[in-house]
């Protein structure tokens, strides 16, 4: 896809796999955003653990039918949308493929400035171009603004994802987070010498 000017200063372009590292700061922004939501339930990984896993997922999706759209303002990367394209749903009468919006991230200082909307519009246009009519997205329980954003765009709930630990035991993810907190590692590691302040 050629670069497309959405507004005077926001442009949207398709990400090439070789530029994958452009997304790293925005993935971190997304994790940081979810991590501090007041009602967040399932703790999230520190960026250093999460990014290699996410990068692997991204590259795998880009080898197939998935795509990433990057938003730039005056040349600087300010957001991206990651869309996975999967086969037909086994139950519901989707088309031969359906899309999952796996991530939408907007840089910290750029929220509320139309970047998310521009990305969303570009995702819709790209899916329409491909003839994909069905889209699914996931949003954290605590991310109420995001849920409203999607509802305003015509999205309706279909599934709710639950987390638990077998045998009605205390949540393993919370235990891991508590261990990290006590040991001062993971998300609780003190900032290293490279940490930008």
């Amino acid at each position: 896809m050629r670069t497309k000017t959405i507004t005077d200063d926001i442009t949207i372009e398709r990400l090439e796999p070789k530029d994958i590292e452009l997304l790293a700061p925005l993935w971190k922004a997304l994790l940081d955003h979810i991590a501090v939501l007041p009602d967040a339930l399932v703790p999230i990984r520190p960026f250093e653990q999460s990014w290699p896993l996410e990068r692997t997922d991204l590259l795998k999706a880009l080898e197939g039918d998935g795509f990433v759209l990057v938003a730039r303002r005056d040349g600087a990367v300010v957001g991206y949308a990651f869309v996975e394209v999967e086969g037909p749903d086994p139950v519901w009468y989707t088309g031969d493929s359906h899309a999952v919006l796996a991530a939408l991230s907007v840089a910290d200082g750029e929220r509320g400035a139309g970047v998310g909307t521009a990305l969303f519009d570009a995702v819709d246009a790209e899916l329409e171009r491909r003839g994909v009519e069905d889209v699914e997205i996931g949003v954290d329980t605590a991310n109420r603004d995001a849920m409203r954003f999607y509802e305003e765009r015509g999205y309706r709930h279909d599934f709710h994802i639950f987390y638990g630990t077998p045998g009605r035991k205390p949540w393993a993810c919370l235990r891991r987070e508590e261990e990290d907190r006590k040991a001062g590692r993971g998300r609780y590691a003190p900032p290293g010498p490279d940490a930008a302040q």
Binding site: V139, A146, H157, D158, F162, E177
Partner: protein, 191 residues
Amino acid sequence: MTPAPHWIIEPLSPATPGQFTAADLAPLEPLWRSLMDRHRDVWNELPMRSYEESWERRRAQYLEVLAVPGSFILVARRGEHLIGYAVVDIQEGDETYTTGERQAEIYTLAVLPGERERGVGAALMDEADRRLLADGVTDVFVATMHGNDAAQRFYERRGFTPFLHMQYRKLTGLDGAPAAPPPSDDSRQED
């Protein structure tokens, strides 16, 4: 009055050990249909595929799941009759949440309508839990259909909590404009 014969929980075993085929899964089809009926009752945003087409596609997904080491399928059997089943998918740890190296998804849990509210689903989950813990898997995810309040309560009683919500939209009538008016700002993110 003679009490109804009791039921047992057991793993479904393929005819050829270690290799599931479509024929091995055939006895599950009526149970899958009953789950489709339940979903149709609670969520009607989209039309459903035919039973036959849906089962064919779902069966193909099960075969993929069951080819992954650690994944398993349990059935509840009353005499010769299957009255429920559970498919448990073992996956790599999540990229975002602090799960272990491996995690599980309850891929399907279904009980025939006439056999619900009798502890069959709980017994299937108890056995799944036992196997997962023995295998060192401590993180479990499961999706319930919006509106399936009984399923939601069932998992909540077992210590599960909904933390992520899937939302769906059909892109229709797009000519460059979104189906709904764009919101006033975009100060949100999601994963």
